[in-house]
């Protein structure tokens, strides 16, 4: 089966950082049947319910090589007001909806986040829809539950942490963050086409100095999430930016014959034979 598109992806744009999107276009070429075709890359930036930037580039590929001249890199210059953030949607479509792509899965890439005086960090993009772990989760549990096992807040060490919620859809989403031991953050509202960065510090009681543990997140609809580890005093000083991990709906066991096939596949992969 071939496709005229690749599933769009979402990258977060936190306040205080430029974002360099260097898409591995050679992988787009590898995904084209025969390595040849005209592909329209679309990048849109959204914040607070509005599309604030739109960029399109036609890439022409011949026999696995890009022959067009367009810039392979898109740079978002930080321009949000303090405390406001946004997100970037990246898509690839074949010209005239021609079925050129061998696979429609999201093209994985890291965006680079940098700013003078700060170290960079890297973050991967998320599926706009049809993320395989989310699909497996919905099939198994019938609800959307994201999670992150290694959150850590420490007032003495200045370790802060926030969850970025991205709502790329057209209806408001309500979400909550739950822990086993120290309560919940309920009623988080993410307006359409908007992003919210919710600090986990409010989980700490006034007399608590620190906490480390697992959070789980549920919402009225699927929402795209990232975990951000930052200075507690200055949330715009970010150390790390990671995707969360859905509460997995895949089984722990497989039938022995499937288990054996998987082992053989791994064995071949480790030797470069698969």
């Amino acid at each position: 089966m071939t496709y005229s598109y690749m599933i769009p992806s979402i990258s977060s744009l936190p306040y205080g950082y430029d974002c360099t999107v260097a898409v591995p276009l050679d992988k787009v070429a590898n995904n084209l049947v025969g390595g040849t075709g005209r592909v329209l890359q679309g990048i849109s930036v959204y914040s607070e319910g509005e599309r604030i930037t739109q960029y399109e580039e036609m890439h022409v590929f011949e026999k696995g090589r890009r022959v067009s001249e367009g810039a392979p890199t898109f740079v978002w210059q930080d321009q949000f007001a303090e405390g406001v953030s946004g997100y970037l949607e990246n898509s690839f479509r074949a010209e005239n909806e021609a079925p050129l792509f061998a696979s429609n899965t999201v093209l994985p890439f890291y965006s680079i986040y940098s700013k003078a005086g700060k170290k960079a960090f890297f973050s991967d993009n998320a599926y706009l829809y049809a993320a395989p772990p989310v699909i497996a989760q919905i099939a198994e549990y019938g609800q959307y539950v994201d999670g992150y096992p290694v959150t850590r807040i420490d007032r003495e060490c200045d370790y802060g942490e926030s969850i970025i919620f991205i709502n790329p859809y057209h209806k408001p989403i309500k979400a909550s963050i739950t822990t086993a031991e120290i309560g919940i953050i309920p009623g988080i509202r993410i307006p359409p086409l908007s992003t919210r960065m919710i600090s986990l510090e409010s989980l700490l009681e006034d007399d608590m100095r620190n906490w480390a543990g697992q959070i789980q997140i549920t919402a009225t609809n699927r929402v795209i999430t990232f975990d951000v580890k930052h200075s507690l005093r200055d949330p715009s000083l970010i150390s790390d930016h990671e995707h969360l991990d859905p509460y997995r709906g895949e089984p722990t066991h497989f039938p022995a014959t499937r288990w054996f096939r998987l082992r053989v596949g791994k064995w071949l992969m480790r030797r470069g034979l698969l």
């Binding site: 071939t2 005229s4 598109y5 599933i7 360099t20 260097a22 392979p72 890199t73 909806e97 079925p99 429609n104 890439f109 890291y110 680079i112 940098s114 003078a116 170290k119 960079a120 960090f121 890297f122 049809a130 699909i135 919905i138 099939a139 549990y141 019938g142 609800q143 539950v145 096992p149 290694v150 850590r152 060490c157 200045d158 370790y159 057209h170 739950t178 086993a180 543990g213 789980q216 549920t218 609809n221 699927r222 200075s231 790390d240 990671e242 991990d245 997995r248 709906g249 895949e250 089984p251 722990t252 066991h253 497989f254 039938p255 022995a256 288990w259 998987l262 791994k266 992969m269 480790r270």
Partner: protein, 351 residues
């Protein structure tokens, strides 16, 4: 969320009674799946069958579904993916004018399916790798959690988790075995098993394997690495094995603000050498990439390599992004570490 949960759970009950096991968790044809568009499942299925190679968004536009209150979007997404990957046999007859019919399974798949149905379940517990980092004021922690769904609804099983720590030359320093009950978590510091070296940073590796003690769902069991440094923390989920070949990272040259390292983990029992070359993919053509370093990796060993551009090249490239290639002959996991110049704040990523 409640409506999503209810509708899918209902559909599961309905499907249970069907003889056709390729239907999956699909609702009955007359079930309304988007109330705003008055769209039932049969019409949705027809639209998916007609769609050919277009996207989910095109489907939403064509059916005018999922766009008004959007409450059903998650369900529509699930049905869309399920129908595209496993169209049900009834689809061809119900769709009528559509020429799409469910593909018949190849003989090999039939045999696999039959064998899988009669063989007992076996726990899938592949090795997961995490790099270890040791340095002044730096701690590396491993976390494996086994929590219930939203901490209430039991879905997982007790885990038996084994951890092996190796130093950079591949020698095993420590191993531990832990039972993680449901609702509990394992959090252990691993860098203290390493011996400090002469450099700012010392590396090692850990191999983590978790086996569920009875068939259940994976839940939260993916191991996580956490690096605590004096001014900040970072984390990364553990990685499965990777094959040999090239690993690419795109980075920026910003020596005043950061130091960038590669951690290379040899996942084989043979020694190998990794060749690192950069800068690749610079838009201006006057920069030729070259081999900048080689890292000897003992069996099961771990190496650390700092990416530095020569001064003249650094001035030409400035802060433009460029790609770094690591080439290995055997299975090797490569991690990218970005740190402040004083090594008090880190991030770590993988390929």
């Amino acid at each position: 969320m409640t409506s999503t949960s209810v509708s899918l759970k209902k559909s599961k009950r309905i499907v249970t009674g069907l003889a056709d096991d390729t239907t999956g968790d699909m609702p009955p044809p007359d079930k309304i799946i988007c109330a705003c568009a008055d769209l039932n499942f049969a019409r949705f299925e027809q639209a998916v069958a007609k769609l050919q190679n277009q996207s989910f968004e095109t489907l939403l536009k064509q059916t005018d579904s999922g766009n008004t209150c959007t409450a059903c979007l998650l369900d529509l997404e699930y049905y869309f993916v399920a129908l595209r990957t496993q169209p049900r046999k009834q689809a061809a007859t119900k769709v009528g004018e559509s020429t799409v019919s469910a593909p018949s399974l190849p003989l090999k798949q039939h045999i696999y399916k039959w064998l899988d149905a009669i063989t007992p379940p076996v726990a899938w517990a592949p090795p997961n790798r995490v790099p270890l980092l040791m340095g002044r004021g730096i701690e590396t922690w491993l976390t494996v959690t086994n929590h219930d769904l939203l901490f209430q609804d039991r879905k997982s099983a007790p885990l038996m988790t084994s951890v092996h720590v190796r130093r950079s030359d591949g020698k095993r320093l420590w191993r531990g075995k832990f039972e993680i009950a449901q609702g509990k978590e394992l959090k252990i510091r691993l860098d203290q098993h390493l011996q400090p070296g002469s450099n700012d940073l010392t590396v090692g590796s850990a191999c983590v394997s978790s086996k569920a003690m009875h068939p259940a769902m994976r839940g939260t069991m993916r191991p996580q690495l956490e690096i605590l440094a004096p001014a900040g923390t970072c984390a990364l989920h553990a990685q499965g094995d990777a094959g040999p070949g090239d690993t690419w990272f795109t980075i920026q040259n910003r020596p005043d603000d950061q130091r960038v390292f590669l951690i290379l983990m040899n996942n084989t029992s043979s020694a190998q050498t990794a060749t690192i070359s950069y800068p690749h993919e610079i838009p201006t053509n006057n920069v030729e990439p070259g081999d900048k370093g080689q890292v000897a990796l003992p069996p099961r060993g771990t190496g650390l390599y700092e990416i530095n551009l020569p001064e003249a090249l650094s001035e030409r490239i400035m802060s433009r992004p460029f790609a770094v290639r690591t080439r290995t002959q055997g299975a090797c996991r490569v991690f990218l570490v970005c740190a402040t110049p004083t090594l008090d704040r880190f991030s770590i990523d993988h390929r």
